[in-house]
Amino acid sequence: MLWLWILVGLVVLVVLLGVLGYNRLVRLRNEADTGWSNIDVQLQRRADLIPNLVEAVRGYAAHERGVFEEVTNARAALQRAGTPGQAADANDVLTTAIGRLFAVAEAYPELKASENFLRLQDDLTDTEDKISAARRYYNSTVMHYNTAIQSLPWVVVAKALGFRAKEFFSASGDTAPPEVTFTPAT
């Protein structure tokens, strides 16, 4: 009789741990999804600024067709990107293209002084800062989520339950973010 109770107790314990663990995985996955949508919002905002920027520069330097095309293509590639890795790559290409566009603008003092252009430039810088902030958050949530589903006991059942490892938002050339360790002095 006693053994039966112990058995029941063990089963209850295992079920309880299972429920808690499962909920934790769901929470981590949701955090990563939120992190991704934060990046997505900023990428979209950046993409929305670009047509205005191209128009502003075109008004002064209509003959620089190659640069405009490059920027427009890079923007389209970013909006087509399906995975975080692809988006990060496309975002890097776009950054290079925008850099070239600004280099063209350097030759036109009137353009550089125009209020519209200055505001666009300011907004773009702000969006880039926000993308890198959102990326730090997203990558750390992905790291926690991936670690959780790749360690025991969840590595055994994670796939069957539909938990798949997520991709970092980092261009192919990037290295992994460094691990911060911390020891208090007390």
Partner: protein, 320 residues
């Protein structure tokens, strides 16, 4: 130990501390019940709960008036707001906290609010005038970490709890000394002595708990700032700059001392040090030197002898 483990450990500790508070509250009420009257103990407990709820609801306004933080207009200090936005995105907060300005020459900052959505960050004009962008961002990240780790919530609760325990212990003590003795039903001198000891010690225990809670959290928020910006040196530099600065905040209200990034009352406290040998236990903040050392060790860097002479952020803001 990684930052995540540290955060988990600190969250566990603060849960224990909160349970400790509830237990202490129960003990004080129980002592009043045993020594005086059972009904009085229950009444004290209920009154304490009601007072706690009231204090939690009005805490947002209370903190604002105690720190004299001013709300900003929608277009004021946009670069500062952008910094706060960026840091709160990096922290994954559901909403960007408001920024409020405290007109004070001493460089300092605090975070307040019970939930992340209703939280706000206060910075002094002195902070904007002293810190270059990199260090200011580190200080803001420190405050955002307090909000992300739910420190502001916990510290508001701790402050309220400590106040409640001190209040009922005080009432109980007075009643025991004057006139309460008549309603005692036997039990004798031993119970009375125990009750007196318990009632006298309880407020100090509560205070100690509140302080230790707040000090541990400062280390955690420093580490959080280093993690959010991926730049532990920036926080170290900011702390060193605070250390070198000798201005004290003009209206240092001790009841909100634990909210600030650097203890606003530290100079007052150090004068008291000779009198009270245990005084470092009662500090709200660990010494800046210890916090810098912790950052140096975890980040693997040494602070330079001289602080960088970059232009303070107030130049970019166009503050007079």
């Amino acid at each position: 130990m990684t930052l995540q483990e540290q955060i988990r450990r600190n969250r566990l500790r603060s849960t224990i501390v909160v349970f400790g508070f509830v237990l202490l509250l129960g003990v004080v009420a129980g002592l009043i019940g045993v020594a005086l009257d059972l009904r009085l103990g229950i009444v004290a407990l209920l009154g304490a709960a009601l007072y706690a709820i009231f204090a939690m609801i009005s805490s947002r306004r209370m903190v604002a008036s105690m720190t004299r933080a001013q709300q900003l207009g929608p277009d004021e200090l946009r670069p500062l707001r952008r910094l706060v936005e960026n840091v709160s995105i990096a922290a994954g907060l559901p909403a960007t906290p408001d920024v409020r300005l405290v007109d004070d020459a001493a460089p300092n900052a605090f975070a307040a609010g019970i939930r992340p959505r209703t939280s706000y960050i206060g910075v002094t004009t002195g902070l904007l005038r002293a810190m270059p962008k990199r260090e200011l961002e580190a200080v803001l990240a420190h405050e955002i970490s307090h909000i992300r780790n739910r420190d502001t919530y916990l510290m508001t609760m701790a402050t309220v709890f400590a106040g409640v325990i001190a209040l009922i212990a005080d009432i109980g003590f007075r009643m025991l000394l004057f006139g309460g003795g008549r309603s005692r039903r036997g039990g004798g001198a031993l119970v009375a002595i125990l009750a007196v000891v318990g009632l006298v010690l309880a407020p100090y225990a509560a205070l100690l708990l509140r302080m230790s809670l707040s000090r541990r959290r400062e280390f955690l928020a420093d580490a959080g700032s280093a993690e959010l910006l991926n730049d532990p040196e920036a926080m170290g530099l900011a702390l060193r700059r605070l250390q070198l600065d000798t201005t004290t905040i003009a209206y240092a209200d001790t009841s909100v001392a634990h909210l600030w990034v650097e203890s606003p009352t530290s100079r007052v406290e150090s004068e008291r040090r000779g009198v009270l040998a245990l005084s470092s236990w009662f500090d709200t903040h660990p010494p800046l030197e210890q916090r810098i050392a912790a950052l140096e060790e975890s980040g693997g860097f040494r602070l330079p002898e001289r602080l960088p002479a970059d232009a303070p952020f107030s130049v970019e803001l166009g503050l007079a």
